[in-house]
């Protein structure tokens, strides 16, 4: 590493080990669920498209994430909020 790189690492950038930990936590979530890393994005897009035709659904609030599951490899949870008015 050159001096400027070291200086940048010493001031401001998060330490490499923190970056590694965050990346690993994400990777293992997908590995454990047996899903490729952008699978959730793809599912989300498809669902958003399908929900567009329902005016009572607030598509901007759709929340989607992977969680662990007892009976299957993993579970994709989707929250679909209904509009207030």
């Amino acid at each position: 590493m050159g001096f400027m790189d070291k200086l940048r690492d010493a001031f401001g950038r998060p330490p490499a080990k923190e970056v590694a930990k965050k990346r690993l936590q994400l990777i293992l979530k997908y590995d454990r669920a047996g899903l490729p890393p952008n699978a959730v994005e793809a599912v989300k897009e498809a669902i958003l498209k399908a929900l567009e035709e329902f005016p009572f659904i607030d598509t901007s609030g759709v929340n989607i994430h992977i969680t662990e599951s007892e009976n299957t490899k993993g579970k994709i949870e989707i929250e679909v909020p209904v509009r207030n008015n």
Binding site: K17, K21, Q25, D31
Partner: protein, 265 residues
């Protein structure tokens, strides 16, 4: 004893399975337990080198499977360490030469004659791994504090669960306290947050390791080896002794910090 047949595995290659196997087996034998180490890395024989026994091999595990000799006859007795025996892998055959049921049978035949049976697994998660893990009642996963190794370790844990084996215990190998202090390397806490396994030991990076292997003398034989000390502690923990695991923290001095910033390393 529940922890009698112990398989050492990792997923990723080169992380220290054979080193941990040879050293922990030697440490237990030094304490008077009768120990056999089985090299299950068929085709890539290695454990004999770490133990310095390569010149004394006559028969190997494939001869046993083929019925040429009974398991006891193929064992190589360690000269330096009393009570320690090696069942060597074959160097010329491939992984399919020993099937899970073959290794189960060999372990059953040796079980009553030994206090501990170690199985050094090949890298990977295919046949050879499954064969090595099948007879074990305790599994140790070795990982380096490094991304690919941890990811592979997690795969192995999942596969062990699918094989209905008890959850593996973790040995972190080659932790470098200086790199941890600089924030360059994952520390013990980080690894445990990601893997959440029972921690059996943390073996530090030891610059003398290559020379121990070159001489065929395991690190545990040397009082002053930093890795050897932790490897002896792992043996004690397998015996049920509660020995605290060192945190391996290191604080960089001010001068050292400056030197790192301006130096060329």
């Amino acid at each position: 004893m529940a922890d009698k047949v112990i398989c050492i595995t990792s997923g990723k290659g080169g992380v220290g399975k054979s080193t941990v196997t040879a050293n922990v087996a030697t440490a237990l034998a030094m304490k008077g337990y009768k120990v056999v180490a089985i090299d299950a890395d068929i085709g890539l024989r290695n454990l004999d080198l770490v133990l310095g026994l390569e010149n004394r091999i006559v028969y190997d595990i494939v001869h046993v499977v083929e019925g040429v000799v009974p398991p006891e006859k193929a064992l190589v007795k360690d000269k330096k360490t009393k009570n320690l025996y090696l069942l060597p892998a074959a160097q010329t055959k491939d992984k399919s030469a020993v099937k899970p049921e073959d290794l189960v049978k060999i372990v059953e035949e040796l079980r009553d004659k030994f206090d501990f049976i170690f199985i050094d697994s090949p890298a990977g998660i295919e046949e050879g791994f499954k064969t090595a893990v099948t007879p074990a009642d305790t599994i140790i996963v070795v990982a380096n504090p490094e991304m690919a190794s941890i990811r592979d370790a997690d795969r192995v844990v999942g596969l062990c669960e699918a094989m209905q084996k008890p959850e593996p215990k973790l040995v972190i190998n080659r932790l470098d306290p200086k790199k941890v202090a600089r924030g360059d390397m994952l520390d013990v806490e980080d690894v445990l947050q990601v893997l959440s396994l029972d921690l059996l030991g943390v073996v530090p990076e030891d610059k003398n390791m290559v020379s121990y292997i070159n001489r065929g003398e395991p690190a545990v034989l040397f009082e002053d080896s930093i890795a050897g000390k932790e490897l002896r502690n792992i043996a004690e923990r397998l015996l049920g002794k509660e020995i605290p695991i060192p945190k391996w923290t290191y604080s960089e001095g001010f001068l050292e910090k400056l030197k790192r910033l301006f130096g060329s390393e």
